[in-house]
Symmetry: C2
Subunit: 338 residues, 2 copies
DNA sequence: ATATTGAACGTAAACGCTTACGTTTAAGGA
DNA sequence: TCCTTAAACGTAAGCGTTTACGTTCAATAT
């Protein structure tokens, strides 16, 4: 059975080349012949074989979306990467590109040297998502020769194409919000100091408070779960009972803090205002619902895909960091200091 | 630049065919020549071009994982398909298969007739996930000629390869649990009657209660969100104030019911026991934490992948429905009737 | 000793497209 | 009218594999 291209060619007594040209919208075929070819192709329900095309052009029209398997700082209870992936899908759906996914396991992360992981997938480019993908792996991928875009991550000492949320500003907004509500004794609940987005959030808080002459006690804990939020809360209020508002470095911890406060018999927000960060799905469903900083995950995915696609056109483009802006979402867990 | 296969062939003064045979572990090449070929391949860091191989064999070593975009019955606030996908990944990671994903949009769902969607992807098989993928689409995919496995779905009148959770039994267990706690006035909160998993859950409840001579009032609402859980709660208790326990058809609704009860000043579980279904991530973090029926999502993904892979070997195998068993998870939202 | 067999290996076509290059043809310029 | 030019189209090689079919040759059977 001949391929559809061949069939059209023979039916119309022309060459494969002309059919291919017409189908790909390339010059070199006359107006009305082109029309007849396209018509016939439609009738025959022609779908190009991306795989044959791939062999011929060494383009696969697939991109990889690879996420680190460990739950990260902000995604304990949230389909964080699911949302990002959705964004990637949305922009790819408008193109010919397909998405090939994989989870980055430790095995892959520790043995990137042979490029096997990327080469066997035959992808044109890749998106790497997750804050704790080790630098050395990113560097290795960069050397594989295909474009790389990072999401929720960056490289330590050199510029790279990446998409990140505006953590500094988000934290700044959060602090500002608390200050505007009249709070003057504000405590901070933070995760491990060396996580970069954590550090940036702490920095944003500190900066905003400093602007109005305030300094905040900071509790660092080594995880960012609900339970560590509780623990941080207890430590914070025992050291600083005068506090009327708490900023948490992510929503899970904020929710933990709310629980702990409620367990102690303090009302949120009447006695204590608490604000989170991330706007995970449950933030809106918590009781009280959580005031927080929204990260536009889907948009991050879209930006990542767009960046990657444009890189595919021009691989030499200079590395750019895209910072998506975040937004304060006022809900029930914060109110004016009484 | 010659391909690596050609390079090895010429270095060793043999033919491409022998190299290919050795690489693919096929008979027809002598023991020690084979060894030398493999050795050289390792040295050269050979990675087969799946795309060239695909052209030659018309196997792509990729499967599609396609999920319906609408949030379904049970996944409002839960990375349901994320977990399933994880399972799929885990088993694929042990094979040569890659995963190509896409979201089934309405546009795709309504125009499947041309197979464009599946053909252009050049996949060897596909997993379709989501309870409300229309029958006609599934049928169309079946006719595309490649194996199809359904997850969280089935076909109305003909057998098909699918993976589902044991909804009847789950509901049975839930009801049994309430009965064993001493409850005799039990109400049911359910979603739309025509959703099949919903119907099976209602059926399981009814059956278990009937076994001990009980019948339960059932409230059907048209969505399965937290808010509709609240609404259903109010309707239920206004019509049946004597009720001491509530079974909800999914966790979101159960949580809604808990909220509503708490708002009314009733304590859960002291005054009212409430049990959910699904065991979404938040169930464990709710206060009180939610007693519910756990669906092993990851395992469903694994089963789906395994089924698909075996179908790839033997496409003629008879359609099988795999039902994964569910489990009662006792937490805080239920207790003995006081 | 010859005939038979099968393992080892080579040849070359095929998979479905793209594309560099060559040829034809008609239009436009002098 | 003849020459130039470019658009239209054809030719055929090539992308990296696999595989049906041939060939060679040594081992075994007779």
């Amino acid at each position: 059975m001949p391929s559809i291209i061949e069939q059209i060619a023979s039916e119309l007594n022309i060459s494969n080349a002309s059919v291919s040209r017409a189908l790909n919208d390339r010059p070199g075929v006359g107006k009305d012949l082109r029309e007849r070819i396209l018509q016939r192709a439609r009738d025959l329900n022609y779908t190009p074989s991306l795989i044959a095309r791939g062999l011929a052009t060494s383009q696969t029209f697939a991109i990889g979306f690879f996420v680190h398997e460990k739950p990260n700082l902000s995604t304990q209870t949230d389909p964080f990467y699911g949302e990002i992936l959705h964004g990637v899908e949305q922009v790819c759906a408008e193109t010919d590109y397909h998405i090939s996914i994989a989870t980055l396991t430790d095995a892959i992360l520790t043995a990137p040297a042979d490029f096997r992981f990327v080469r066997e997938r035959r992808i044109d480019g890749m998106i790497l998502a997750g804050p704790d993908i080790p630098n050395h792996f990113v560097v290795a991928m960069l050397q594989s020769g295909i474009p790389v875009v990072l999401v929720d991550n960056k490289l330590d000492h050199s510029p790279i194409n990446c998409i990140n949320s505006d953590d500094d500003r988000g934290a700044y907004l959060a602090a500002k919000h608390l200050v505007e509500l009249g709070h003057r004794s504000i405590g901070l609940i933070a995760g491990p100091e060396h996580w970069s987005s954590n550090a940036r959030r702490v920095w944003g808080y500190t900066w905003a408070l400093q602007e109005v002459g305030l300094t905040a006690p900071i509790i660092h804990v080594d995880r960012t779960t609900i339970d560590s939020g509780k623990a941080a809360y207890y430590q914070l209020v025992s050291e600083h009972p005068e506090i009327t508002a708490i900023g948490a470095v992510n929503d899970s911890m904020a929710i933990g803090a709310i629980r702990a406060a409620q367990d102690e018999g303090r009302r949120v927000p009447e006695d204590l205002s608490i604000i989170g960060f991330d706007d995970i799905e449950w933030a809106a469903h918590n009781s009280p619902s959580l005031t927080t900083i929204n990260i536009p995950k889907r948009q991050m995915g879209k930006e990542a895909a767009r960046r990657l696609l444009s890189l595919l056109d021009d691989p030499e483009a200079a590395p750019t960091e895209i910072i998506v802006s975040v937004q304060l979402v006022k809900r029930e867990s914060t109110q004016e200091r009484s």
